[in-house]
């Protein structure tokens, strides 16, 4: 069973904008894929669908065997809590909250107790190379470190799928390279990684590329 399967998927937003048209895509477990396209190509819509944040207008999206169109909002939330980890361009860390508690929030909605959440958060931070930064708050860390905290939060629940949306977009090239290396390490360790980016160079550094243009998947 594929981890992600898009079958003739279209997404039409209210107002008649078609963001995605008859897209087909399959991502197997253990893949590392770059979804690449210029802005407005529909790759954000792709991210929302693969991330179970939204449902398609037509066609079927299967994530880990569940068809999104058939799930309630509550069930979609559950799917995200247990199967998917997100990394965003802007990190989205809570200001004034230390790294451990930021990462621990990644387990909040999966029913893990606070003590266990913190223990696993510390382990995840060590895994991304921030074992010495556990008690630091976001404003005390560099951009690259913040993104690594965000990655730790995404993987602390050991999701089947890690979705990174322009993970290096706000970073200088060396921090960006470090973040990419980290994603590669996670992939090597078995996590399925999908990187959404407008940067062809970044995508070319990944084992597999999916190109999106004008709402259509042009190369798989």
């Amino acid at each position: 069973m594929s981890l992600v399967r898009l079958n003739r998927v279209s997404k039409v937003y209210p107002g008649g904008v078609t963001a995605l048209r008859d897209a087909d895509l399959t991502i197997e477990r253990g893949d590392m894929v770059g979804v690449v396209g210029p802005s407005g190509s529909g790759k954000s819509t792709m991210l929302h669908l693969i991330g179970a944040l939204d449902r398609p207008s037509s066609g079927a999206v299967h994530i880990d065997g569940y068809e999104l169109g058939r799930l309630s909002d509550r069930a979609l939330s559950g799917l995200r809590a247990h199967r998917i980890g997100f990394v965003f361009q802007q990190f989205h860390l809570a200001a004034g909250v230390n790294a451990v508690d930021n990462v621990a929030d990644g387990l909040l909605y999966s029913g893990v107790r606070l003590r266990e959440r913190r223990r696993r958060a510390a382990a995840a931070l060590t895994r991304v190379g921030l074992g010495h930064r556990l008690r630091h708050r976001p404003h005390e860390m560099s951009g690259g470190e913040r993104q690594r905290v965000a990655i730790a939060r995404a993987v602390v629940g050991e999701p089947a799928l890690l979705l990174a949306d322009e993970p290096t977009g706000n970073l200088d090239s060396s921090s960006g390279a470090a973040v990419l290396a980290l994603l590669r390490d996670l992939h090597t360790a078995g996590t399925t990684v999908v990187v959404i980016t407008h940067d062809p160079q970044l995508a070319d550094a990944l084992p597999r590329q999916v190109r999106v243009r004008d709402g259509q998947v042009t190369a798989r």
């Binding site: 929302h48 991330g51 944040l53 939204d54 065997g65 569940y66 068809e67 058939r70 799930l71 909002d73 509550r74 069930a75 979609l76 939330s77 559950g78 799917l79 995200r80 809590a81 247990h82 199967r83 998917i84 997100f86 965003f88 802007q90 989205h92 809570a94 200001a95 004034g96 909250v97 929030d105 990644g106 909040l108 909605y109 999966s110 029913g111 893990v112 606070l114 939060r153």
Partner: protein, 395 residues
Amino acid sequence: MSAAPPSARLGVADVARLGAVGLRTRPLRVFLSALGIAIGIAAMLAVVGISTSSGAELNRTLDRLGTNLLTVAPGETLSGQKAQLPAESVAMVHRIGPVLSASATGKLDANVYRNDLVPKGQTGSLAVLAVRPDLLTAVAGSVAAGSWFNPATEQFPTVVLGDAAARRLDLRAPGPRVWAGGQWLAVVGILDPVPLAPELDSAALVGWDAATRYLGFDGHPTTIYTRSRDSQVEAVRAVLGRTVNPGAPGEVRVSRPSDALAARRAADRTLNGLLLGLGAVALLVGGVGVANTMVISVLERRTEIGLRRSLGATRGQIRLQFLMESLLLSGLGGAGGVLLGVAVTAAYATVQAWPTVVPPWATLGGLGATTLIGAIAGLYPALRAARLAPTEALA
């Protein structure tokens, strides 16, 4: 296909932590909007507390003074003339079964002056009263300086001054003489204020026999003070008119001074209602402040909402988070308001030398009201936050 793994339920502690994090990162705003609630609660609690404390003080006073005192005064005759009580009326009151004591004062047609050089017109509105020696115990009065009449002094031209009378004559201690009815009277004592018989405060009191001998007193009492057994006060009251003046019971006015004290308190209650209403308005404004803070909070934290949705939070959990934040915010204000209200009450009561009483129902009611306000103020913002689609929130 099996059902998707459910989002877990959040424990109470987790929800409380979520709400607290939202508040902790914006301390000034939290302080200010909690202050609004606190002022409302404090105002209401202080009104109730001060009123209750004053009531407790009144009860204490009444316990000390007793509520079994009745006074009898002449009313008016049918033709509108000032009536007179018979000279033997005090003795007749004594004969009523449940009566414990009876005493009297008789108003003299004389004025009292600091000395014989003071012009006649400057009476200072002071009365001169002939008194029975047992009057002081009947009205539960006490002597501030000097002494009350004893069997010797009541026979001689001596005088005991009421509290206000002593001040108006500018006498702080017994000893000097005052000029009354063409006589020098030696001041032997000064009384404390008498709450149950305020008419004694602005009077110069002369012994019954001395008044007859030196000041031309006619022996007719003008006020009779009588105490009876507590359970029988109303029964005594019913027969007093006929006993005092069997010929014309309608010409006698009977009253119960402790009722007047209690009535004054009832008058205060109207004002309390008004103040309580003002406090409620303040509380309402505080609630609007909390709602405003929460609406802004939701607007500012779209990305946090989006992030939490992406981490697996359901709509219900987002709703709960913001509702809890609102509850904590107003709860904080409520707790502060209770402390402030109790402090204000305690300070005021201490200054007035009253007992401090804040009724528990008012405290609980205040906290209950803040919880309600927090829930109402937070409801709309929380619904708005929960309605936000994750894709919109992250955009």
